[in-house]
Symmetry: C2
Subunit: 702 residues, 2 copies
């Protein structure tokens, strides 16, 4: 089913059957039919109830098989055990879209999960796309359409909301109505058995009423698909993403809620980066940012003017701007001159423009207009604290006049409560988003600027790395598994250092010359071939952190040194040793890959050396990776900033690190069995000289 | 005037005169008399107006000199130019407390600043304590007393608010009334000409109605006095501090607002640490935290139970707890068994305790009571999303029942809007703080735990370091200044490396053996005395970062090496050289001190080496410092964690670093002329072996 069809079946269906419709107003299933009728759905509504008769004034059908055309959507709300049969009937009736509101499936344990699996089978058999189970359904505030039992309908607006949780939909609608914020569409997806968050955002893509897509997710059943869907949408519509289960406590809470796997925070951040979404961390922040994106033009730059009647909130706003990467606009002398003519005597004409205690309401629009005309101002925050002598609702009208049709973002911050109820509603309904706290208004402007930058960033799609030797790699991995597994069906093992280095080499990663020695003489011969100084490493399958167990000797400058070290490293010849050319001094970084249960292979880059765990100077990205993205990843870390050259040290070979990241990314993408891979250290020489993977560790899982 | 007197004169005066009282309701000065009367002040009110007669039903006096006893407070609200004369009259009348509401002083520029200075002179002459100018005055919601022109009075409650900004007082009252939050006292301090934030918090200390002190500050005229005042109060009453002007943009905004010096963020954080205040970064966060501190008992631990009717908000709450350093309580099998009996079938009995769609209201109190009785639960967050079938106001009554009189903190999070207006008011008025967003509820609980830990932390008062040689130090500083200044009245200079090292040595800081050489032969002689290997450094007054300019030679192992290096380092004998014993390998850290305009001398500690600017691994504290505090400071940094020993490396001599911090702290406290001091690197040997100040840099300002 195409994205367009999916959106049409669920948000603009011709004919809706409600399986489990009731005449009893105390039942939730009463509410669904009631909402379809009273919230204005214009197509035919077919209550399904074995008793037939009439329900809420509509003819009821004993079975969905009896329902005439047009019929494109069924809403199921009966006890869980009966859902499979009802879904089968929908399939027989030829339906392609079904919403299962009923709960009591995966979220209740193993039995429920089995019941849910049977729904999946039925849906696949009949080609049904299914929302739910354990959800509240969908709404389109413009059409209008409401398949939920939530008592209220949002006002029409431009925020689409895709939510794992139905309760959060209900709470959001309640909140939005009280402050004059509108929604375009709402989709509550529940257990995401079939239609998932990725489908959810795709259903919003072509909706002309949707200007921003807010997402509340707990787990993402197919993380990669979500990333691809979002990446294909974010340049046309912003996606503001809130995810629960990013911390240990949150993961536990999510698991007990919908049985979803919440995944790892680093991987989530990497996924959001690739997906192009604006990340938020609370419902409030999500609403604050979405309100601005739904109503305001995008800023051309990050310079903000503050127009206020009180210095305190403006000072707090200024701090908030700074935290958001925004700056205070410099108000030119010419603009200050113009402002002087329309503001009270004594007004501070620099930024913040502080009209002190008593501006007349119209001064807000007069000064606001002048500020918006200044080419050095990209955004305007208007601030007002209600005072005895200035009527708040008149001020608000002037703020609306300023914002309406402006080519630059305008937001309003009014500090207060009781006296603002009407003002808040007016501002939001008129398209000038209202914020109670300067900090929140700052975040909203920051969200606009963040999205503007996301939208204009270069394409991050990776180009495949093709000059690699897949066959040798496959053979090396197979051999390692054979040595380890000896026929085991599943398991995990580390490659020995030599094989790991060979795998890296097969993917074009630069490794120092090395060879395996079984004896002292072989070791010396290899050392002569490599050229001094050399390094010796113990080779034993169970030794992972070599430096910890003494199986390592550095800076061996002649044959005699190699002889002494071989004996020590191999514990008197009890193991083999790897002889390796010692790499000249350079910056030590760590570069790795691991596989996230939700988002697949991840790349990691950061400061190397002994203190990697303590400094935690690391960046993460999805693998594979483009050169552009790899450069950004490196630049995010202190290791990367050092690599640019500090205090007169020459810059390091960043290009070589970028290339290594691309090749590791390709390797772990090509071989899903590679569960983990570390290059620690990667020694980075001066620009142009290269980077060497001195120690490669690879773990495979079968 | 004692703290007690100050509080009594301003918050419980016997008789108040209003200078500039008016009968014209469009004037703000009308409002002051009006509020005194209608908001319930019970003492005599004396309007002062040259015309005499009657104002708002009260006898008006032409001059304050005519006013009979009792009279303890005057409120001045006339044009700025006339304020000095009025203040003088107050002095003549024998008043000891005056509030100047009038603006138009320092905040308007140089002329206003001069006028303000004249007020200071008058106040000092007559021993008057003065609040303002440019403020809105004070309120006591319990007495009651209202000297402001703000139209509304807060409901009586337990939050005291001390605010630089009057507008923020007005906005806060407006907000508080709409959500059922009460205040005990409010003081708007304006320009803080005399009574400042420190006095403000002291005035709240003994108020029996105040349980928490919220502070909004822009600048702190005497930062050290604030720290001392707060430090003497925070163990009896929590202080929740919001400060504007912590970023570059904020500093600019604050300066243009009240002409206050906002100061440096690191110094502010260090000051808050010593002061024992709970730091917040927005008005909303301040209110959220203060509401919990004003109403809830302190938690014994950090384990939180979440009781909810919806999984989504609980998952978000769990994430919020984690970010606050709180943990999800483990619900014992016994407690789960008890919960099972009082919750709907299907309830998730682990934490979160999710009662799914339809709990009856009384289940909130039944389950809440059981959770509070569990010894493994320290705090309870009750979460509710309004749903069609559960009446919200009944749920709220049950939440109140749970929280009322409980020995553990209980907060409420209801996600919604329109339907919650009454619920929010009821919860807050009943002492169960309400939060719209799970993240905010999490922060509130985090604030309780943060304060609990602050209150029980060890005493941070430093013990003076006395085994120091102040005379030699004074002589070295004087000599450096004489060499540099040659009679200049003001200026700044660096000490040469040798003098700086001697100053450090005089304060008991361990420095490697060193001496100054004017010639190659002297250099070799010193090297022989120090013992090889040695280091040579160029000594020239203008060379600060030696490593940048080649004036440094390391690891010189014999006389010949010293000879070669001397020639190089001194550019062929054009400067002198310092010969120093080279210190064995150890961890390189940086340790420094600088002077903040607002908070005085600061100590800095962090990771040393070339990358200090890039890693920014530093902690700050006020100087002088206790050993306890120094240990905490070290532990905050990655450098400190490395010093504890990682990956089998031996731990470093933390005690020696603590001692060095104490001695540097004493030095910069004893000699205010030391504007800046760096030890970079301080080489820290293994535990017990010591730490060496290899390079000491001292800048003095006269």
């Amino acid at each position: 089913m195409t994205r367009e069809e999916l959106a049409r079946y669920f948000f603009n269906p011709q004919g809706i059957a409600v399986i489990g419709a009731s005449s009893d107003p105390t039942k939730l299933s009463y509410g669904v039919v009631h909402n379809l009728i009273t919230h204005g759905y214009r197509g035919p509504i077919y209550p399904i109830n074995p008793k037939g008769g009439e329900i809420q004034g509509l003819k009821a059908y004993p079975s969905i098989l009896d329902v005439p055309d047009p019929l494109e959507l069924a809403v199921i709300m009966i006890r869980a055990e009966a859902v499979p049969e009802a879904l089968t009937a929908c399939g027989e009736r030829g339906l392609k879209a079904v919403i299962v509101i009923t709960g009591g499936f995966r979220e209740t344990g193993a039995e429920g999960a089995a019941l849910e699996a049977s729904l999946k089978d039925i849906a696949v058999r009949y080609g049904i796309r299914l929302i739910g189970p354990n959800c509240v359904g969908v709404m389109d505030a413009h059409l209008p359409l409401d398949t939920t039992f939530i008592t209220m309908m949002p006002e029409p607006g431009h925020i689409a909301f895709v939510s794992h949780s139905g309760a959060i939909c209900g709470g959001s609608i309640d909140w939005a109505r009280s402050v004059g914020v509108g929604y375009s569409r709402i989709a509550s997806l529940g257990n995401q058995l079939d239609v998932d968050i990725a489908d959810g955002i795709e259903m919003m893509k072509d909706d002309p009423n949707t200007r921003v897509i807010s997402v509340y997710a707990e787990g993402l059943p197919d993380g990669r698909r979500f990333v691809e869907a979002a990446a294909s949408i974010y340049r046309s519509k912003p996606i503001v993403m809130l995810k629960a289960g990013l911390t240990t406590a949150g993961v536990q809470a999510v698991a007990s809620h919908t049985g979803a796997l919440a995944g790892n925070n680093d991987a989530y951040v990497a996924a959001c980066h690739r997906a192009g979404v604006v990340m938020v961390h609370s419902l409030q922040e999500q609403n604050d940012v979405a309100m601005a994106l739904a109503t305001q033009p995008l800023p051309r730059g990050n310079r903000v003017a503050l127009l206020t009647n009180a210095g305190g909130p403006a000072a707090l706003a200024a701090d908030a701007l700074d935290r958001q990467g925004l700056v205070m606009a410099t108000i030119s002398a010419a603009t200050q001159e113009r402002l002087k003519a329309v503001t009270p005597p004594g007004t501070q004409l620099g930024n913040p423009i502080d009209m002190l205690g008593g501006p007349r309401p119209e001064m807000y629009s007069a000064a606001g207009k002048i500020l918006l005309e200044d080419p050095d101002v990209d955004m305007l925050m208007t601030i007002f604290v209600p005072q005895a002598i200035t009527p708040v609702n008149e001020v608000v009208q002037e703020m609306v006049k300023t914002g309406l049709g402006a080519a630059k973002p305008v937001v309003a911050c009014l500090v207060g409560g009781e006296s603002l109820t009407e003002a808040i509603y007016t501002l939001n309904r008129s398209g000038v988003p209202y914020y109670r706290d300067p900090n929140r208004a700052g975040r909203a402007l920051g969200g606009l600027w963040e999205y503007r930058q996301l939208r204009e960033r270069p394409d991050l799609t990776p180009t495949p790395v093709t000059d690699v030797d897949r066959e040798s790699t496959q053979a090396l991995l197979d051999a390692a598994w054979t040595r380890h597994g000896a026929g085991a069906a599943r398991g995990a093992c580390f490659l020995d250092a030599e094989s790991a280095a060979q795998v890296a080499a097969a993917y074009g990663i630069t490794i120092p010359f090395s060879g395996l020695a079984d004896s002292v003489d072989e070791a010396v011969a290899l050392a002569e071939k490599a050229g001094y100084p050399v390094v010796l490493k113990r080779i034993a399958a169970d030794v992972v952190h070599k430096a910890d167990v003494g199986g390592l000797a550095l800076d061996l400058r002649d044959a005699e040194a190699v002889r002494v070290a071989f004996n020590h490293v191999t514990e008197g010849g009890r193991t083999r040793a790897m002889v390796q050319r010692m790499i000249p001094k350079g910056q030590e970084v760590i570069l790795g890959a691991k596989r996230d249960a939700q988002f697949g292979p991840q790349l990691m880059f950061g400061m190397g050396g002994l203190y990697v765990e303590i400094l935690r100077d690391v960046a993460f990205r999805l693998a594979p990776i483009s050169a552009e993205d790899a450069r950004g990843m490196i630049a995010e870390t202190a290791a990367g900033r050092i690599m640019q050259g500090v205090r007169g040290e020459p810059p390091g070979d960043i290009a070589a690190v970028v290339e290594t990241l691309r090749r590791v990314g390709q390797l772990v993408t090509d071989f899903p069995n590679i569960a983990e891979m570390d290059i620690n250290p990667l020694i980075v020489g001066p620009a142009g000289s290269g980077a060497w993977a001195v120690d490669v560790r690879i773990r495979i899982e079968v």
